[in-house]
Amino acid sequence: MSDNTKTKGLGMKAKRRLGDTAIYIILIIMSIIWLTPFVCIVLQSFRVESTWQVGYVVPQKWGLDNYTGLLNTDFVRWYGNTFLMAICVSVLQTIIVLCMSYTLSRFRFKLRKPLMKFMLILGLFPGMLTMIILYRVLKDMGLTMEHAVPGLILVYIASSGMGYYITKGFFDTIPMSLDEAARVDGATRLQVLIQMIMPLSKSIIIYTILTAFMGPWGDFIFAKYISFNTSAGMNVAVGLYSWLSKDMIASRYTMFCAGGVIVAIPVTILFMCFQRYYVEGVTGGSVKG
């Protein structure tokens, strides 16, 4: 770059500086657009003078009323439900995904290719289609409405084996010769997995846990259908959504903002701490397909 600018003189330099300035301006504008909603939601969560939507951002009267008010609503229950689901799902789903992707990456058995093709085809069906029957079966088992949490955990983890692509792609990059060397030394496949592959795959395991943990916080369809309008069985997404309905929004809007902030804080902190692993997983996964 520097050679180029020297030979072509000042014109090139000025051009580059102009380009830089333009990019800085664009990036600043984009940052403002991307951050505005979050600034607004935080500011409005501290607004005390009214609970409905208003046409301004900065509160006239500040206070924590919306946050303390949350404690007297079902929000506490929703938060507990979601947290419990997130913990269970992140543990169980990680185990299932690891089993699946390790097998498909390391073993060559007769049904391997058919199994992968089969799962690919299954993935083309809209997941929502299974909702009706799952609801009926869970209802017969007593795992809907206020007891929706165990039912939802079951639904989330049961089919998670189909999400093996990214982890398998990572395992594929670990040379098979490592496995073979260990096997020659007398290690069983189980030992290879636990003592060799797992330590090498720290980043992808953290990625799997992180995405699994974030899943229940954002799930809407299944949580809505299986909790079936019963407040006690809702997760935060469905619960907070119900506060924005036509007859609730006037009294709950600022509390929705406060609830949103409370939900976003732990997830965001966790995400920011493990950002590096997430970026690795996302970029690696898309490159390898």
Partner: protein
Amino acid sequence: MTKFFKAIKNEVSDFFGTFAKGDFKTRLSYVVMGAGNFLRGQLVRGFIFLAFEVLFFIYMFMGLGGNSGCYWLSMLPSLGKEGPGEVYDEFYDQYVYAFNDNSFQILLYGVLTIFLIVAFVMSWRANIKQAKAAQETVAAGKKLNKFKDDLKSLVDEGFYKTLLALPVTGIMVFTVLPIVFMILVAFTNYDGTHDGYVTNLFTWQGLKNFKTLFAMNGSGSYGKIFLGILGWTIVWAFFATFSNYFLGILTALMINRKTIKFKKVWRTIFVLTIAIPQFISLLYVSKMFDKSGLINGFLLKWGVLSTPYDFWGHAFSARLLVILINIWIGVPYLMLIATGILLNIPQDLYEAAKIDGASPTQQFRHITMPYMLFITGPYLLTSFTGNMNNFNVIYLLSAGGPTNSAATSAAGSVGYTDLLVTWLFKITTGAESQYYMASVIGIVIFIVVSIITLVVYNLLPSNKNEGDLQ
């Protein structure tokens, strides 16, 4: 195809050959499963086979604490005959209301029984193969594997069986079974009123529901609504995918430009949008554009508008907004992905281009873009089909609205931003709960997505000439 027939031929000749060449123990295992194993000393393996066989026949003919498998199978063609009615109850000495046959259970257990029969036939075949293998091992004078060896193999050579057992069972029970069930529902008249509300009985309808979906005439016909929604679904998926894709790459290029400082700060700002749970950002932004929301508030204050504009109440503005807000949601992901790929483009390509005097625009067009497209082809395809089924963004932003008054079917109204999936959801949860139409639409979505996937996948450069860029 010939390979397939050859496999069948081999299978058949092996099946009869084993019987012809087998000794008494092997032949016995054609009737008594596991006989070829436990008579030769492989006790546990043999008895597991036998126990499965016994349990299977008890289930089929007597039932395990419920109706027998044969009962469910025999009810499958009719899906139940006796509707609800009054039944005399001796204990209370009065007539009580009883639902009698339950079509949902009949269909569910019928499908389950068929699954079981398939599993039984497969393990019966496996049992014969095992008997043959055991016979051959003994004949060769080698030692047979004991149960202890089998267990050891499950953490070693056969470790994949152990690892796959749980995930595959989960997929079978919670994905395959429901999908098979729902495909069958598309050929019935199963809906809310046939689901315990009025009666528990529903019946086979043949292709009637598919004809209903494609019917073009009459008021409340599905055909036109379906075509309208399908059209918008594809338009939406196209714009949602490619707007994110190109803007994401542009953002990544801007941030990664050598002379730009604070790269980490810019990146963190965008990553923040990924970190915050999507439903919060979507719901909040949706309300910002509400008739009494923030945007209208500011537009009124600044005098741009004199009366609040209903962004979600007009077809065009609602459609434009969902695409724009989707950019806001999706660009950060693409920025991350594109950054990862950009850093991997071999730098010597650019050096060579510079020596040849290529301008930055030319470099972008002839090096960066082809490389990106090559690497991200499969990703683009999955994100296109993913967007076709992007329930959350549409439902949380506009809930499908504004309502299209010209498109009201028997299953309720649809809106201008409704995708096929949100329509499916609305039909399922609507007043009539027309489950059968929901499954018809689900099948249609599957067909559309499969066709797109198949066609595009074969066109992809990364599939055609692998290694072109390496």
